[in-house]
């Protein structure tokens, strides 16, 4: 047993408002007319769609393939037909669309093939991690961080912590889950313990959930070694990962380090239940428990299929008149829903109907009076007022020096601020600006590199071309020098070139011979020879006759004489024609 609990700095105690929704057991939400399953569950990775419109899908069938390091698979939450693959508004403060698969349920809710996996008998670790990824298991606490990445870190953790603190007001989904499905959660925890190589399991539950603590203790007593169920003091944000680790183990995870490096791994209770389903039943993550509460008639918890539009859930609880907006997540860290058609995703734990009575609009922002109340409340040991000034002045370098990225955006500082400054909005603004700048800087560095390489390439190509031309010129010159030495010793390279070309052409002409006279039988060869002989004789009688007389020089005269005779003949014929015609 844990002898002593530790504390963390700061924290606040807002009204919990948990009783409203924690009374009723978890009910199953009816099938909606359409499921809009986003291919993305966090901002970092999007799955690749592997279905087409018109295709029939079965419950649990994979419709999105994991892509990238942080990618996880996406599955059809029920059986039906894919209507379209489109862009739809995502439950994200931006209200921007993202890739979604729209499925029309056929009402049969027919399971596809379910493949359980026993991690104990599994040959390689890679198979186990691949199973987690392909079952689409992500953190169910809200951030939807892929579990296979968390489990897959090299470093072994000695302690596995299950986070059942659920510190944020209004939310009771983990509370009901622990009350009703404690054995499943602990079974998942045992699988996770094996995967991370831990020796003990600690379950941290805030002490305002006695029923959940009792149910978990009962389930734990049946196990060996029994997980320790530890009630922790109710203090927001005890459910923050670092805060819970600090409370349970006393380990303070330093800036820039991961909890694994200190032998601790932390998972949400909902994640543990999903892990149990994935390994023991072969069921992917296709549904989750969502708290529907706030300004409604019948608050409670529902098991909702991923992709169910929020507007289809509202009739289950009957929002009271006066509801002016809906919050996704808790009142401390959640955000107003951009549109009522947004689907429930793996990280959606709560939907709150907000009215001006329950959540009065914040009074106008006043200047900071440097009271330091925010620093006293900050559970991350930061100086929120400094971060506020630097963020407001857009002095992001300085904000980072004051460890802006250690801020968990819990909202304690804004809650206690007597000047009603929306401090977290400033931190979120500064963080996203810094990320955008990093992206821009990376793009600029890449552009610089590519620009410099292009210039280098152009220079190189120029140099190569010049070298090629120079080499060719040198070669020609050398050839000329060779050719010029032979017949005329002509210095003009052009003339020499022409002469060389002529000589080449002549040589080629001389080399041309009838090609079809080779490889013939001797009889045919003899015949050809005979024909050639006859041809020679035939031409020789006219031409060779004078030469045969022995005077080669007279050949020319004889030709001249013949020409003269022919000319006379022609003149005579012309004269005859002239006499006849007139």
């Amino acid at each position: 047993m844990i002898a002593k609990l530790f504390g963390f700095h700061g924290g606040i105690k807002p009204d919990t408002h948990k009783d409203e929704s924690a009374r009723e057991p978890i009910r199953r939400a009816p099938l909606p007319a359409r499921l809009i399953v986003p291919l993305r569950h966090n901002t970092r990775a999007i799955a690749r769609c592997i279905v087409e419109p018109g295709q029939k899908v079965l419950k649990g069938q994979r419709i999105g393939e994991a892509e990238g390091v942080l990618g996880t698979a996406v599955h059809a939450p029920t059986s039906g037909t894919v209507v379209e693959v489109t862009h739809h508004v995502m439950p994200h403060p931006s209200g921007l669309p993202t890739g979604c698969v729209v499925i029309e349920p056929d009402g049969e809710d027919r399971w596809g093939e379910r493949v359980p996996l026993d991690p104990a008998t599994c040959s390689t670790r890679q198979t186990v991690l691949g199973h987690l990824r392909d079952m689409g298991i992500v953190g169910m606490g809200g951030a939807a961080f892929p579990s296979h990445i968390k489990v897959g870190t090299e470093k072994r953790a000695g302690t596995l912590i299950l986070n059942g603190a659920e510190c944020e007001p209004w939310i009771t989904s983990d509370d009901r889950l622990m009350r009703e499905r404690a054995p499943a959660i602990l079974r998942g925890a045992e699988i996770l313990r094996e995967l991370v190589g831990a020796t003990r399991i600690l379950v941290g539950i805030e002490d305002n959930k006695p029923e959940a603590i009792a149910a978990m203790r009962e389930a734990a007593s049946a196990l060996d070694p029994a997980p320790e169920i530890v009630p922790v003091p109710t203090l927001y944000p005890a459910g923050g990962e670092r805060q819970l680790i600090r409370v349970l183990t006393g380990i303070e995870v330093p800036h820039g380090k991961l909890a694994t490096e200190f032998g601790v791994q932390c998972f949400n209770v909902g994640t543990a239940e999903a892990v149990h389903r994935a390994f023991d039943l072969g069921e992917p993550l296709i549904a989750r428990v969502v708290t529907l509460t706030g300004n409604v008639e019948r608050p409670g918890n529902w098991e909702v299929l991923i992709g169910t539009p929020v507007e289809d859930l509202l009739p289950l609880v009957d929002p009271r008149p006066g509801t002016d907006r809906y919050l996704l997540g808790g009142p401390m860290m959640g955000f107003a829903m951009p549109d009522l058609s947004v689907p429930v995703v793996k990280g959606t734990n709560c939907i709150i109907a907000a009215s001006p009575e329950l959540f009065p609009p914040p009074p106008p922002e006043q200047p900071c009076i440097r009271c330091g109340a925010c620093a006293e409340a900050c559970p991350a040991d930061l100086q929120p007022f400094e971060l506020y000034w630097f963020s407001r002045a857009r002095n992001f370098g300085k904000a980072q020096e004051y460890h802006l990225f250690d801020c968990i955006e819990c909202g304690c500082c804004a809650y206690v601020c007597p000047s009603n400054i929306p401090l977290v909005d400033y931190y979120r603004f500064a963080k996203s600006e810094i990320w955008a700048r990093e992206r821009e800087q990376n793009a600029a560095d890449q552009a610089r590199e590519r620009f410099e390489f292009r210039n280098y390439r152009i220079e190189r190509e120029k140099a190569e071309k010049a070298a090629r031309l120079a080499a060719k010129a040198a070669e020609t010159k050398a050839k000329l020098a060779e050719g010029a030495a032979a017949p005329k010793a002509d210095d003009d390279p052009k003339k020499a070139l022409v002469a060389a070309a002529l000589a080449r052409a002549q040589a080629q002409k001389a080399a041309v011979e009838p090609k079809n006279t080779d490889n013939l039988p001797p009889a045919v060869q003899a015949e050809i020879a005979e024909i050639e002989q006859r041809r020679k004789q035939a031409t020789g009688q006219t031409d060779d006759a004078p030469a045969a007389d022995g005077t080669a020089a007279t050949g020319d005269e004889a030709r001249k004489a013949r020409i003269a005779v022919a000319l006379e003949r022609a003149a005579g014929r012309r004269g005859e024609r002239e006499q006849e015609e007139p």
């Binding site: 993305r40 901002t43 970092r44 995502m90 994200h92 403060p93 931006s94 921007l96 993202t98 407001r392 929306p422 909005d425 400033y426 979120r428 603004f429 963080k431 996203s432 600006e433 990320w435 955008a436 992206r439 821009e440 793009a443 600029a444 560095d445 890449q446 552009a447 610089r448 590519r450 620009f451 410099e452 390489f453 292009r454 210039n455």
Partner: protein, 183 residues
């Protein structure tokens, strides 16, 4: 008196030698200021500043030949950074070099492209792929939006399309609202 003069002379020699050695041993290649300026410039390589690329412009600023307000893609913020670095006064962007625009990328209408390769030759970051008489296309993530490919296209098939905001690139808005006088 003589001793003092000697001591001073020897000291001067020793220190002079040490300085001379240090200036050779620790010589800095290139101008570090140019690198610092280049790091601030957006690397669009668009040439709107009047220099053939960001680095030549950085060199020109370092040499005092160019002013700091000639880079439209860097915008007001870039000028502020340059002013901080160089210890000069901020001055508004020189409109004669262009105006600040939202980040865009070039998009080639692939139906119209005749495959002349002129845009490929114009692209300063080799972000266009294609071959003679083959369709060309722009590799979006590499495009800096410099618009240098738009003018050479003989069939005007290149358009600049502003990059839309996505869930990944979305930024939280500045929480301070400007007060405006009621009309």
């Amino acid at each position: 008196m003589l001793t003092a003069v000697l001591v001073m002379a020897v000291l001067a020699l020793v220190i002079g030698a040490a300085l001379g050695w240090a200036s050779i041993r620790f010589k800095v290649e290139g101008d570090p200021l140019v690198d610092q300026i280049d790091a601030i410039l957006p690397q669009t390589q668009c040439g709107q500043c009047g220099y053939p690329g960001c680095r030549p412009y950085a060199t020109a600023i370092a040499n005092g030949e160019a002013d700091i307000n000639q880079c439209p893609p860097g915008g007001e913020e870039g000028i502020r950074h340059l002013a901080d670095l160089l210890g000069r006064e901020f001055k508004p962007l020189d409109e004669s070099h262009g105006v600040e625009k939202p980040k865009s990328v070039a998009v080639i209408d692939e139906q119209t492209c005749i495959g002349c390769t002129l845009c490929i030759q114009a692209c300063p970051v080799d972000a266009i792929v294609g071959a003679a008489k083959q369709m060309h296309t722009v590799v979006d993530p590499l495009c800096t939006g410099c618009e240098l490919c738009v003018a050479p296209c003989p069939v005007d098939c290149i358009t600049m399309v502003p990059v839309p905001e996505t869930v990944e690139t979305w930024k939280w808005r500045y929480p301070v609202f400007k007060l405006e006088p009621a009309a």
